[in-house]
Structure formats: C-alpha cells, structure tokens
C-alpha cells in the first residue's frame, strides 16, 4: 500500500521530479512546501509517513526544519535532499536523525531506493 509523503524543496522543478518518481512507484505526495518554515507547518498538519527535505532553502533551511520535525515527532522519517557533496550539512543531518539522503543531480532509482528504505519497504538489492 502506498505511503503518504511530503516534499519540501524551494525549487518547483525538483518538487515535480520527486513527485513524479514517488507517484510512479505507487505512493502519494500529500503536500509540497517551498521552504523549511512551510515544511514544518505542513508536517504538523498532514502527519506524512515520510518527508523529503532539501537542505539549502530560504526562510528556514533543511537542517533547522529537520530539527523541528524531529522535535514534533522523534520517529519521523526524513530523507534529506542536497546538491552535490554538501558533506558537512549532510553529516549534521544524519547526526540529528535523518534516515537517508539523496544527492542532486539524482537518478530516479536512487530517490525511490532512499524513500522506500527509510519507510522500511526496500528490498535487499535496493
């Protein structure tokens, strides 16, 4: 059964790409937010099964939003989305409790693999 996913990214084209990949694999994108502030608010309202969260965003960045989301729900499943090699930010996100990360530019397979692994749906080969 498909899971409910919230996509948070300031770039509409990235939100569209992630949405297409997720929906193609049978999950539902229940909301899209364009910054961290809106993302945390939508997380509170929608209670999704998983959040994909960009790191560099205006208003509130992905690291701050991740901390807020995990404060609201310590078991929240969050997959970080980052532009190439922002290692320091990624390490910080993983230490905070992010489930996995996707590096942009990404392949479809990597997105669905990270999402389904975080949701506990992934098969071994993924």
């Amino acid at each position: 059964m498909g899971k409910r996913i919230l996509v948070v990214d300031d770039a509409p084209i990235i939100r569209l790409m992630i949405k297409d990949i997720i929906e193609y694999h049978g999950h539902e994108v229940v909301g899209e937010a364009c910054n961290g502030l809106e993302g945390v608010q939508m997380f509170k309202e929608l209670k999704p099964d998983l959040v994909t969260l960009d790191i560099i965003m205006p208003e509130k960045d992905g690291i701050e939003a991740l901390a807020d989301i995990l404060k609201l729900d310590p078991d929240a499943k969050v997959v970080m989305v980052t532009a190439i090699d922002q290692r320091e930010s990624l390490m910080k996100a993983i230490r905070l409790g992010a489930a996995d990360y996707i590096v942009k530019p990404f392949e479809n397979e990597r997105v669905i693999s990270a999402v389904e692994k975080a949701l506990g749906l992934a098969t071994e080969e993924q």
């Binding site: 300031d10 770039a11 509409p12 084209i13 990235i14 569209l16 790409m17 560099i56 965003m57 205006p58 980052t82 532009a83 190439i84 090699d85 922002q86 290692r87 320091e88 930010s89 942009k104 530019p105």
Partner: protein
C-alpha cells in the same frame, strides 16, 4: 607585490580549473546522458570589460545568483539565454526537446537548480581540495537583458572597486546547442585565503 599578485592569479586560475572540472561533471549529470560539455573559455577579466561584453549581447537571459559564504566568500552567477532555458527544462525533466514552449515557474526553477548544483560543486572544490568551508545561499533568479543581469551581479563589488577579477567559463551542451555562462567573483574578504592558497602553490 607584483609577484604576490601573480601568485594570487595563479591560485584563482587553479580554483577555476578545478571548479570547472567539478561543475562539468555535475552539469552533464543534470542534463543526462548524451549531453557533452565543451568548455570554450576560462579567463580573467576586469569589471568594465566584463560588463561591456555583457551589454554587447542584446538578448534576454535567465540568471541564477548565489553567494558562497564562508572563509573565502565568492559570488556565483550562472546564466543561459531565455530561449535556451526552455531546452534546459526539457533536458532536466527528460522531456523531448521542444516540449516546453513558454517561460514559466519550471523554466525559472531549472536555471535556479542548475545554478545551485554548480555552485555546490564549486564549494566542494574549496572544502575537498583546500579545507575551506563555503556554504551556498539559496539561489536568486533574474530574467532580463544580459547586461542588466550582469550589472546586478556586480553591483555589490562595483560600489567598492573599479576593477575586480572575474572567472568566466562558457560551455556548450553540444547535442542541444545550448550555450551557458558561469562566473565566479571573489569578494574582497576572500583575498586572505587566496593568498594562503597561492603560498601553497
């Protein structure tokens, strides 16, 4: 003094080359297989030459500005002709070229995202090769004439100086005949770090 300047120019050139290599890899990945990037040029120019060159193009472009904040602050600009931003959008969305016909939220976002990924690739050159942490800010996108976009890019620095070094590179996506421009402008605060890098050369 002259010798120092020479060394700093050399340091900037090295950073430019490493950045272009890294950016090229990231860029070909964004636009998917089959796209081949040919770097046409990478050179140093002064502020007036660069602005005059931008004003000589009467076409409209879409540009993404990003500040690379940290120990060696830089200002980054990536731009393409607005008609090429439509092709870029199709390539990123894996659509047949020609599908996107109008400039909209997604075409703007395509340029924003390419800028973001390229700037991040450059910031990685600093952290991986020189242990200098740089953090890109969220991109700001501007759709206007090339000269206006370029002037906006230089406005902060032009207030303080008449001349500044600019690293410019141009590359083509051969299959789709898209010409892209990328600029990297060292902020005044970055000189100390460039000096440090130059000493290591």
């Amino acid at each position: 003094m002259g010798a120092d300047k020479k060394k700093i120019d050399k340091a900037i050139e090295l950073i430019a080359k490493l950045s272009i290599d890294k950016s090229s890899v990231a860029f070909s990945k964004i636009v998917k297989q089959g796209a081949r990037i040919v770097m046409e040029n990478a050179y140093m120019a002064n502020i007036s030459e660069a602005t005059a060159k931008a004003y000589s193009q009467d076409s409209e472009v879409v540009g993404a500005f990003i500040d690379l904040e940290g120990d060696a602050p830089f200002k980054f600009l990536f731009y393409v002709q607005d008609t090429d931003s439509l092709v870029l959008t199709d390539l990123i969305l894996r659509k047949e070229v020609g599908t996107t016909k109008e400039f909209d939220l997604y075409t703007q976002s395509a340029v924003q995202e390419v800028g973001n990924i390229l700037a991040s690739a450059i910031s990685n050159v600093f952290s991986a090769d020189f242990q200098i942490a740089l953090k890109p800010t969220p991109p700001v996108v501007l759709h206007d004439f090339a000269g206006t976009v370029f002037e906006e890019y230089l406005v902060d620095i032009a207030i303080e100086r008449n001349e500044v070094l600019i690293i410019e590179s141009q590359f083509n996506i051969v299959q789709s005949n898209i010409k892209c421009s990328m600029f990297l402008l060292p902020y005044p605060g970055s000189e100390k770090v460039l000096n440090y890098i130059s000493k290591a050369l």
